[in-house]
Symmetry: C2
Subunit: 352 residues, 2 copies
DNA sequence: TTGAAAGCGCTACCAG
DNA sequence: CTGGTAGCGCTTTCAA
């Protein structure tokens, strides 16, 4: 194994000079630098990560904690993780992959052992017990999600409230006067996952502002679940002409069930969703949808956490604006709109 | 920060004793061990990873290289990665996440810098340039996939040939005499990805043995691609009554197109696939399918690579047997089988 | 602009 | 069964 002193010897300089050539932390004459670099590549020298970390007290690694639950949208996780890894590499950092099930203890372990310089934690819930632990660590952290009390921690996420607003408003502007939100499975609400609630609030707020009737219910992502959900909202809301879907896994069953019942999209029923682009275009009629900018969130998380690490910035909360993509699943309301009241009461609630 | 000598002082023993308590590499009296452990937890001591790695020349980390291409099946990758991380943790190892795009240089970097003790590389192609690089590294490696020349490297993968055989044979046993294989997109074959070819060979072999007619064509996973594929095989193979799908992304379009054309599954056409269980059950008619045991492959990869690291085993190739799950998409051939020839010529080829 | 050398915290060898 | 201690390969301060 070739070490820094092998390089120093070969180049006829001191060890510290080689180190400074590598780090750029002090000026080096062009000729010296060149000699050193020649030796480095001719010897095939690679600085040893552990020695560097020990001496500098920096690991050049970030921890990334990903969820494993079955109700997460796997492709979104992957996009996000890719964004993190690629961005980390452009800042000369590596990524240590951890799973949710290591829990708070895992965070303490990697932090305490100095394995990483900073942490990025996905899928953080409103009352996540890990939040308090993260606040107590030596290393900075950025969360994907928005806990109730984010003090001291960076947060990045889609602005779910704005996403809910955008979708509801879009339907209202197409003349729809009665909307239904197909929400995530009940388990997601039970867990107190804040994004579901934020989306719902945005949806309700826009519906109210636009003066349209709107219901919302959680939905199990299966054929049976979707069928039951449909029965319920159709009986609950006569004149229903548009759906907002915040449940990726329910999309396929939903569209199957609709087609089986002879309800055409968008002629009979408009559908808009929050889902990745590739999912949106995987149906016979491409879905108008808001996307989760997962890769961007990943990049941003890395940049925020490194800014905190270098003292360039304080922890802050960043909610990214939703991007709506119009495709083919949203049309005008089928029946001429009934005379629009100046200010109708919006009804929106999230039942079980 | 609390160090090993703080613990030694607190417990009234030497640092080496603390070290040996931690590693268990030499006998320690019960009383000493207890005192040391008490000090460790009362001081909240965490051994520093970098110092340990420097002194022991072991990082206790594995590199995991995941693909980023759009034609990979993301959930399978995730299952696999989870299996790797969880298993690595049970063996006291962490996982460094790398992306495909770091290429051979990335492998050399993490290897040369001693960041990891071993490497696991996913999605390895028949003529993958990384194979030669991996062979030259100091650390052992295990590949997911099967390159043409795997000498010196461990390999784990599904036995794709057996999977192709199982599916074709299953259909033949249900009386189907004319089969079509809907393969991955042409890009996959062009890339020389060995799993596609292995699956195809197994399918062809079983068809020949069973004396059934069988065609095979690559297919773009889109509505247009699937429709064109269907037109082609139906005109090419009169009496076609069963499909084998080796293209997860094409499943949804395929089933939509079939339903739009009034072809019922399984009454008019039987369909079997190679896909994850959750995908198989996400359609109106649950698909009989072979699954990729991704989590198992991940576990196995970790165990194999650690066995190599510890000198407990030589690099070897392990192909896991396919597991077929009967669901609802496969029925008997619709028309009574034509008199079965003793040994008919099977036709199977993979056109563009 | 460069060199010398003191650690960083741990492991594992050598002694006892 | 336990202690002392020489490194592991690098960074960074102090000195020149």
């Amino acid at each position: 194994m070739v070490t820094i002193s092998d390089v120093a010897k070969d180049a006829g300089v001191s060890v510290s000079t080689v180190s400074y050539v590598l780090s750029g932390k002090r000026p080096i004459s062009a000729t010296t630098r060149e000699r050193v670099e020649r030796s480095i590549s001719s010897l095939g020298y690679h600085p040893q990560a552990s020695a560097r970390a020990l001496a500098s007290n920096r690991s050049s690694a970030l921890a990334l904690v990903v969820p494993l639950r079955r109700d997460v949208i796997v492709p979104v996780i992957m996009q996000f993780a890719s964004g993190v890894v690629v961005t980390a590499r452009t800042h000369d950092h590596d990524v240590l992959l951890m799973t949710q099930d290591e829990g708070a203890g895992g965070l303490q372990r990697v932090s305490g052992s100095g394995l990483v310089d900073a942490l990025i934690v996905m899928d953080v819930e409103a009352q996540d017990p890990r939040v308090e632990v993260l606040r107590g660590l030596r290393q900075p952290a950025v969360l994907i999600g928005l806990p109730d009390d984010p003090r001291g921690l960076g947060c990045v996420d889609l602005d779910f409230a704005a996403a809910g607003r955008v979708l509801a408003r879009h339907l209202a502007e197409h003349g729809h006067r009665a909307l239904a939100l197909l929400g995530p499975s009940p388990a997601v609400y039970d867990r107190g996952t804040s994004f579901a609630t934020r989306f719902l609030r945005g949806y309700q707020q826009a519906a109210e502002e636009e003066g349209v009737r709107a219901v919302a219910h959680a939905c199990e992502p299966s054929f049976a679940g979707v069928a039951a959900w449909l029965d319920r909202v159709e009986s609950e809301l006569p004149g229903l002409s548009a759906l907002v879907v915040h449940n990726e896994a329910a999309l396929a069953p939903l569209l199957s069930v609709l087609s089986a019942r002879g309800r055409r999209v968008p002629e009979d029923l408009s559908v808009v969703a929050l889902c990745p682009a590739d999912v949106a275009v995987s149906f016979p009629v491409p879905l108008s949808a808001v996307e989760i900018p997962a890769a961007t969130i990943g990049e941003l998380a890395v940049e925020m956490v490194l800014d905190q690490l270098e003292g360039r910035a304080q922890p802050s909360v960043r909610l990214l604006p939703p991007e709506f993509h119009e495709r083919a699943s949203c049309g005008p309301a089928p029946r001429p709109a009934t005379p629009r009241p100046r200010r109708s009461r919006a009804t929106a609630r999230m039942g079980s």
